[in-house]
């Protein structure tokens, strides 16, 4: 009887130890091999910023008059952690004559003055530079896939001639590979922009 009990106890112990070893092997194999392999093999999907529309109220204005620019950005990919839509004004020397008329972004647009620290080379503030001309940066954090947002800005040019407006949209992270436009003219942040212009004539 005692021998039977001892044998039963011993068998139970072996069963428990075996069970523990198997469970721990499953745990460590899953944590260090199976799940890392599985998650890293999944195809990554990315956001895709696009500027879908730019409306300028007047193509020609008299010096002293203002015009309104409305820019619509859209994310045609998956939701991005953050997406910016920037409008900059290389011919302006101050932010006094720039005002945001309307915006449906979740965060308030930021008006960037000259000599302010800004990111560059699609690396954000890891490569800071100082702004040389004013810009308006609006952003959503996150920006849902398929969603579009727009901003309307009123600007009064300071001098006659061809008045340039640069427009771009950048997503974060992966901004170095995913941005709009993908090539062309570069702005003060060494990032690609789509240039637009308004003809400013003397009255």
């Amino acid at each position: 009887m005692m021998a039977d009990l001892k044998s039963f106890g011993s068998k139970k112990r072996v069963a428990i130890v075996t069970c523990i070893v198997i469970l721990l092997a499953i745990y460590f194999a899953s944590a260090s091999y199976f799940f890392p392999q599985f998650y890293l093999s999944l195809v990554q999907q990315y956001p895709r910023p696009v500027i879908s529309d730019v409306k300028i109220s007047n193509s020609t204005i008299h010096l002293g008059q203002s015009f309104e620019i409305t820019v619509v950005g859209v994310n045609k990919g998956v939701t991005s952690d953050m997406q910016t839509l920037s409008v900059s004004f290389p011919n302006m020397t101050s932010i006094q004559a720039i005002s945001v008329m309307d915006s449906n972004f979740t965060q308030h647009p930021v008006i960037i003055d000259i000599d302010q620290e800004v990111g560059s080379h699609y690396q954000g503030t890891q490569y800071p530079v100082y702004s040389q001309y004013p810009a308006v940066e609006s952003y959503n954090r996150p920006w849902e896939g398929g969603a579009s947002h727009e901003i309307s800005i009123d600007v009064t040019p300071e001098s006659a001639g061809k008045f340039l407006v640069f427009v771009k949209s950048v997503v974060l992270p992966h901004s170095d590979t995913i941005h709009y436009p993908m090539n062309g003219t570069k702005d003060q942040q060494s990032e690609y922009v789509v240039p637009y212009s308004v003809n400013v004539v003397n009255p």
Binding site: L23, L24, Y27, A31, L40, L42, T79, M82, R141, P142
Partner: protein, 352 residues
């Protein structure tokens, strides 16, 4: 496990002190889960209002905690039972700190604007939670000795979970790089944060789970139930609200394995070396148990760039697995230390 019914209360002559202790524990559980959910919403930048669901859960918890602490105090003043003195004091002082933390936090926001995770008022809030949750546990354990607790183990489990969550919240506050603001640079030094996380998280898992096992006289199931409850809270408040990491639920569920294994070991043997083995296994499991937030801590010493919400899974599985060999031994040692410390917690809350 059965729930507590009206008949249970009648049968055990449940008193106000027990009900107060239970309410305190439920209240802190609501507060900590609401807080965890709120942190997730901040991390994924989900727009919030004061009456968002996480805030509502959190503040409901504070109200329930205060009601519980008042009930404990009323009972203590009426009966003057010296065994109820410490739990009542802890619950009342903790509740007062919790109540005081609200206006203090409001004032801090008024003075300094947006705050980070670590701020004096947030620390005050978590200390209050920790104090009040310990009061709740002690109260529930005292109710067992006075035979007014109809479900001793279920209520003990309910009291242990908020202690774990509050202590985990405090460690998050001290380790995570979410505390630099325009006015204050409260982010911890990355190396110190990694050392603290590697030592303190395994210790915490071990001390909480082994104490639970001790308080249940090492019966199988209670340690596992507490561990599973923690896993469920993390899935519900941290993983499910963030659609970028929702896919990690199957991975996160493997955390149940070391928990069940430790439970099997502790329930099948009283030998000290095997108790230490259980602690070591629980300690080792910290690297997966405290996912996803732990990613931000370890990432800090790999790169200065923050981990974007969409990059959590890739960062954790591609970069952080490098840390496994480094954290292996400290995690085992901390888990064993947690086993030793658990005796203290279990003894202090033992039924007298």
């Amino acid at each position: 496990m059965a729930t507590i019914g009206v008949k249970d209360f009648q049968k055990y002559h449940t008193d106000r002190f027990f009900l107060g202790s239970l309410l305190v524990s439920i209240g802190v559980l609501l507060t900590t889960t609401g807080g965890s959910w709120d942190i997730t919403n901040h991390l994924i930048n989900r727009p919030e209002t004061f009456l968002s669901i996480p805030h509502t859960v959190l503040y409901t918890g504070v109200v329930v905690t205060i009601i519980g602490a008042i009930a404990m105090l009323q009972d203590y003043r009426h009966k003057r039972d010296p065994l109820k003195s410490l739990p009542t004091k802890m619950a009342v002082i903790g509740s007062l700190v919790l109540v005081g933390a609200g206006p203090a936090d409001f004032g801090w926001h008024q003075m300094f604007g947006l705050d980070g995770l670590l701020s004096p008022t947030h620390m005050m809030l978590v200390l209050g939670m920790l104090c009040v949750s310990l009061g709740g546990l002690l109260g529930i354990r005292r109710s067992i000795s006075s035979k007014t607790n109809p479900k001793p183990m279920l209520t003990t489990l309910l009291a242990m979970l908020p202690i774990w969550l509050a202590a985990g919240g405090m460690l998050d506050m001290l380790c995570l790089p979410f505390s630099n603001t325009a006015h204050f640079k409260f982010n911890p030094d990355p190396t110190l944060a990694v050392i603290l996380a590697t030592v303190a998280f395994p210790f915490l898992s071990s001390v909480i789970l082994i104490s639970m096992s001790s308080m249940s006289q090492k019966r199988f199931g209670y340690l596992s139930a507490l561990g599973a409850s923690f896993v469920a809270v993390v899935i519900l408040t941290t993983i499910i609200p963030d659609d970028k990491i929702r896919i990690s639920i199957p991975f996160y569920l493997i955390n149940l394995i070391p928990i069940v294994v430790a439970d099997i070991i502790l329930s099948s043997s009283q030998k000290k070396p095997l108790t230490y083995l259980a602690g070591a296994i629980l300690g080792l499991g910290f690297f997966t148990l405290y996912f996803p937030l732990i990613t931000h801590v370890y990432n800090e010493i790999l790169t200065t760039a923050p981990v974007w919400p969409s990059a959590i899974i890739n960062t954790y599985f591609a970069d952080l697995t490098k840390f496994y060999p480094i954290v292996f031994l400290p995690a085992i040692a901390s888990g064993i230390l947690g086993t030793i410390a658990s005796k203290k917690l279990a003894i202090n809350s033992t039924v007298k």
